[in-house]
């Protein structure tokens, strides 16, 4: 199972931003009670800090103090803060302007993600066209200030609970899928045992006295812990059990099988019979296999050898995963008009139909007299 490890369940890094954010949004939503805004702003700041802490520590990689990290945190903080202001504002015109700031911050994130064309298109279409049209409609329709509908909200308790429970499950899911810390520590542990000159006494079962030679020998506590750690890491990196006999020959399942055999070998004989050479070979197998599987899973595998997968043999394609270059505007045009030609024609047709539809809907009916 992919999510078999229990080391990172619902913890404070997830709970703090979710609970504080839920409280802040619930408090700031329009209601018939007049609430002072100071409390909402304070809890909202706590939630933002919690979100930043989750981003810094949740996925196990260290955040370097670079310009990219600063820009990422600045843009995402702006986007989240102004999104909150947008959904809680009493004045629709202010909501529209907050949405403009959210769109601009998202465009900054697009630029960090090497999407310059998308950034320009979003600024022109969203911040330029759509929001200005919204402002026109607001000015046409609401000339007498905030209406009673803007000062009330519908089922705020249930909506906030539903939304933030969804957010908590998304965050826990992301943390479980992208956090490789326990696999990494297992690899380091196995490698340490494999490289050591002699095996620590704590791992080796004490030899039984002469008279009951035939009785089963228990594993030591340290050895049990070691094997448990290896099993957890293996459950984390293996995706599914092989279904057919053919599946067993795939690189993936072969690696999993090798690691399982090594763990079983350690458990059944090597730790009990003080076989140092077998312990070191098995630990070496475990460390190598886990490293390879983790790299295949998180996309950093370098495919220097031929891999057998369900779709046939995968040949090596070069060193490491490809990096998307930042100057990719001409490439996006090529992709649009070669791979997605039908889709782009359909999108054009959709725009035409929408234009005709908008004109047809908003036409004033002539009074039949």
């Amino acid at each position: 199972m992919l999510l078999a490890d229990s080391s990172n369940d619902l913890n404070w890094t997830v709970l703090l931003p979710v609970v504080a954010g839920g409280l802040a949004v619930w408090y700031m939503l329009p209601s018939t009670k007049r609430r002072p805004m100071v409390f909402g702003a304070l809890v909202g700041l706590i939630a933002l800090a919690g979100l930043a802490a989750f981003l810094v520590s949740g996925f196990g990689d260290t955040i370097p103090q670079t310009v990219e990290a600063g820009l990422f945190f600045g843009f995402s903080g702006l986007a989240v803060a102004f999104a909150t202001l947008m959904i809680t504002g009493r004045n629709p015109a202010r909501s529209a302007l907050s949405f403009a700031i959210v769109v601009l911050s998202t465009c900054g994130l697009f630029l960090l993600l090497a999407a310059p064309f998308l950034m320009a298109a979003t600024i022109v279409i969203y911040a330029g066209a759509i929001i200005v049209t919204f402002l026109f409609v607001i000015m046409l329709s609401q000339q007498e200030g905030p209406s009673s509908a803007d000062l009330r909200s519908r089922e705020p308790d249930l909506a906030v609970v539903a939304g933030f429970v969804l957010l908590a499950s998304l965050l826990v899911g992301l943390e479980r899928v992208y956090d490789w810390r326990n696999v990494d520590s297992a690899i380091v542990h196995a490698q340490r045992v494999a490289d050591a000159e002699s095996v620590d006494r704590d791992y080796l079962s004490p030899l039984p006295p002469m008279e009951n030679m035939g009785s089963p020998i228990p594993l030591t506590k340290k050895a049990e812990e070691f094997l448990g750690e290896m099993r957890t890491a293996l459950n984390r990196v293996k995706v599914a059990a092989p279904r057919t006999a053919e599946d067993r020959r795939l690189t993936d399942h072969r690696l999993v099988q090798e690691i399982e055999n090594a763990i079983t070998g350690l458990k059944i004989s090597a730790f009990k019979h003080h076989d140092v050479e077998a312990i070191q070979t098995n630990c070496e197998t475990i460390a190598k296999g886990l490293t390879r599987l983790r790299n295949l899973r998180n996309g950093s595998a370098t495919f220097e050898d031929v891999v057998r997968s369900e779709h046939g043999e995968v040949k090596p394609i070069g060193n490491g995963p490809k990096q998307l270059p930042a100057a990719n505007v001409s490439a996006i045009g090529r992709t649009l008009f070669s791979d997605h030609l039908l889709a782009i024609e359909l999108a054009g047709t959709l725009l035409l139909v929408a234009t005709v539809g908008a004109i047809a809907i908003s036409r004033r009916e002539r009074k039949a007299s």
Partner: protein, 139 residues
Amino acid sequence: MISLPHYLTVGAVLFVLGLIGFLTRRNLIVMFLSAELMLQGVALNFVAFSRAHGNLHGQVFALFIIAVAACEAGIALAMFLMLYRKKRSLDISLWQALRDPGLEETRDLVPLPAEPKEEPLPVLSVSGIEPARKERDHA
């Protein structure tokens, strides 16, 4: 390093905020803006995956999202204008005759609190000599 899950987290937060806004607010325009906010979160996910996989298909998807959002905005604003002409308000609960059968009508039972009285602006009393007016000012 700032990697894929960081952007996915921000996308998830934007999506959830848009969801809450869509469920709670009663102004048609704010509801529509909330739906657009959800689309922004999804577009951010697409672009982040595009970057992580090293190809451009995610960005193409995000472009289609923008195209569909523009169509949606055109149609929705035309409809809002028509709805506004009928009821002279953008309140969504004026249209609750369209709700599912068997659902109760929502009524605003709690009255809104009174607006706080605004302090009247200070008025300076007239002092000094009033300048003489010309005859044609009175005429």
